[in-house]
C-alpha cells in the first residue's frame, strides 16, 4: 500500500493547490477599478507634440496623471490649478501629464491654447485608456509615486492647488 499513500498525498496536494487558488481568488478579486497601491496600467498614446508616449517614460519620478475633457466643466475649471502646479514643480522632479478623454486633436489643442495649458497632454483614443484605468467620473487624477505605484486617486473635481500640493507633499515624502 506504499504507492497508494503517495497517490493520496498527490491528490490531496493537488486539491489544496487548486482549491486554495479558487478560494484565494474569491477573497482577493481584482476589479477593473484602480486602488491605491496598484500599478497603473500601461498605455501608449499620441501627445499634442505629435509623438508617441509610453507610461514607462515617466518612471522613477512622481507623476500626476490627470484625465480630463473639454466637455467636462470641473475638468475645465481645474486647468489653471494644474498649470500653476506644473510650473512650480516641473524643475523639481514632479511630472504632470494630462490625458484627454478621446477628443479630437484640434479641439484639444484649441482648448489648451485658450486656457494656457503647457503641460504635456496625451490623447486617448476610443476610450481605451480610460477603460483600462476604470474611470467612472471625470476628472480623475492619479498620484503615482516614484516607485511606480498609485498612491492616491482623486475622483471628481475641480481640484484646488491646495488639494494637489498636499498630495505632492506626500509623494515627495514617500520618495525621500
Amino acid at each position: 500500500m506504499r504507492r497508494n499513500k503517495t497517490l493520496q498525498f498527490v491528490i490531496l496536494a493537488a486539491v489544496l493547490v487548486i482549491g486554495g487558488y479558487a478560494v484565494f481568488q474569491s477573497l482577493f478579486q481584482t476589479t477593473a477599478v484602480m486602488k491605491a497601491g496598484n500599478k497603473p496600467p500601461e498605455f501608449r498614446l499620441l501627445g499634442l507634440d505629435g509623438t508617441a508616449h509610453d507610461l514607462s517614460e515617466y518612471k522613477g519620478k512622481p507623476l500626476i496623471l490627470n484625465f480630463w475633457g473639454t466637455w467636462c466643466p470641473p475638468c475645465r475649471a481645474e486647468m489653471p490649478a494644474l498649470q500653476s502646479v506644473y510650473d512650480r514643480w516641473k524643475d523639481k522632479g514632479v511630472q504632470l501629464v494630462g490625458i484627454n478623454l478621446s477628443e479630437e486633436k484640434l479641439t484639444v489643442q484649441n482648448f489648451a491654447r485658450e486656457v494656457g495649458a503647457s503641460f504635456p497632454i496625451l490623447l486617448d483614443r476610443n476610450r481605451q485608456t480610460e477603460k483600462k484605468y476604470g474611470l467612472k467620473q471625470y476628472p480623475t487624477t492619479f498620484f503615482i509615486g516614484a516607485d511606480g505605484k498609485i498612491q492616491d486617486i482623486m475622483i471628481g473635481g475641480p481640484l484646488s492647488e491646495n488639494d494637489i500640493e498636499s498630495r505632492i507633499a506626500k509623494l515627495m515624502n514617500a520618495k525621500s
Binding site: I18, Y21, A22, V23, E103, K131
Partner: protein, 553 residues
Amino acid sequence: MISNTKCECGHQNHIGTVLCEACGKPLIELPDDGQMPAEMRYDGVARRSQKANPSWIDRIWNFFSSVKVAVWLIILTLIGASLGTIYPQEDTFINLDDPAAYYKQNYGNFGVIYHALGLSRTYQSWWFIGLLVMIGTSLVICSLDRVLPLYRALAKQQVRKHLQFLTRQQVVYAGAVPGDQNTWLDGFAKQLKKKRYRIWRDGDALLAEKNRFSRWGPYINHIGLIIFLLAVLGRGIPAWHMDQYISIDDGQTVPIPGTNFFVKNEKFTVEYYTDAELPPTLKGSVRPKMFNTKATLYQCTAACDDPTRDPVLERVKTHDIQVNHPLAYKGLKLYQYDFSEQLRLISVSPVIVNKKTGEQFGPFKLPMRNPALTYQVGPYTLELKDKFMDFGLDEQGRPMTKSRDPNAPAFVFLIKGPDLSAGGEPYIYFPKQNDKVKFGQDVLNRAVADKLDIRVNAMKDVSFSEYTTFLNVRVDKAMPFIWTGAAIFMIGVVIGFYWQHRRIWLRFDGGTLTLGAHTNKNNFGLRNEVAAALNRTGIDVPAKSLDNRRKTH
C-alpha cells in the same frame, strides 16, 4: 476492526472487507434481518479509506470519502445558494457605486444585515467557493476510493458463492427443480442468454450477469462533474476570460480593447411587432420583433500600437449579430446586448452657395468625426479652425462641447474666397438644421452670412446613424471544457440510471436449488426477469414471492 481476514474458503482478504472477496461469505456478524449489509454495493470489498490506524492523511481522506459528508456538502451548498436569491445580487446591477446604501435604502434593516453578511455577493464569497471546492474534492476522493475496489471485485468474480451470500440477496428463490438438474440448468441458462445475460458455469453453480458497464455510470458522471468544476475554475484565469461592453454608432469602427480586433457597425436595424400581430392587451405597446447589427470584424495587421498613425485593418468577417446569433471568430464572440435610438450625423456633403451670384460649389464631404483640416471647394478655401461635437456655452458664455458624441456638431471655418477679406473670414457651420436655428448660425456669422451659405441640398447628401448598438464582447476559453464535462456527466447518468447491473447466482446443494440475484437499481425488473426465466423452465413462482424483503416482514 476485524483482525482475522482470512475466509474459510482460504482467501486472504484486505482489512475492512465485509464479504469475502472470493466466495462472498459474510466475515462479520450480520444483522438478523436476513438482508445483505449495505456493503453489497461494492461486493463487500474494502474501500481504501477503511484502514486500521489511520494517519492524519488518512483522516482527511476518510472525511472526503464519506458519502454522508458528501450529502452534507450538497445540502449546505443548496442552503447557501438559496440565501443568495433572497435579494438581488450586487452583480446584477451594472453600475452600483455604493452597494451598502442600495441595500439599506431598498430593503431596510434586513438589507443592511444581508449586505453585511456578504450575502449580496453569495456566489463569489469564499465560503460558497469553498463549499464547491469541497464538493469537488469529495467527488475525486469518493470516486477513487470506490472505483478501484469495485473494479477488482467485478473483474475476478467467483461463480460459486457461499450459501449465505445467496440467501441474503434481495431476490431469492430456493426449492427443487423439475426433472434432471443439469438439463434444467441448461434450459435456465438458455433463458437468461435470451435476456442478454452472460453466463459462467462452475459445475452445478452458475453466474449470470448483464449490463456491468452500468456500474461505471456514477464514476463517469463524477469525472464529468470534476471536469466541469475545473473548467469553471479555469474561467478565473485572466487570459481565458474576457467580458466587456462596447457601444457603436452606425458606420463607426471601434477597437476591441485588449485584442487586435476592430469592429464596425455597418448598420443597425430593429423591427417591431405591428398592432395586427399583437394580442388585444398588448396593442399599442412597443415590442421588438428582431434587432440586428450588421457588423464587420477587422484584424489589425500593422501600426496597431502606434498612436501616430492609423492602424492598418484587414476585414475578417461580416455577420448579422442578433440576440441568439452572436458573431464568433476564433474564440472571440460578439453578442447583441442592447441598443438605443440616438439620431447622430455621420457625415454631410454640403455645397457652398455664393449668395450674390447664386453659383453652387461642391458638394464636399464633411465627416463628423476626424474631418480634414482644409477643404478646397471651387474658389473657396475652408480651413477648419475649431470643432465642437455637442455645441453649447459654458458658464462664462464661451463655446464648448457638452459631450464627446456628435449630438450637435459645429464647425468653425476660416473661409477665403471671392468677395471675402484676404485673411479669410470666420464662419460657424451647424450641419443640423435645428441646431442652425437654435444657436442662430446666421446671427453668429453676421456679414458673411449674407455673402455665402453652406447647405445640404438633399437627404441623399446626409448620412446619419439612427441607433447606437451595444455589443457584449466575450472570450471564454473554458467553454469547450464546460461542455465536455457536461456531456460526460450526461453519459454517466444515462448509463447509470437507464441500465441496471444485474447478477444471478445459483447453486445446488443436495438437489435443492438456491438462487440469489442482485441489482443496484430496479429490483422490480430483476424480479420479473428471474420469475419469467423460472416460469419458462417449469418453476411457477409469482415475481413478488421472490422478494427477500417481503418474506421476512
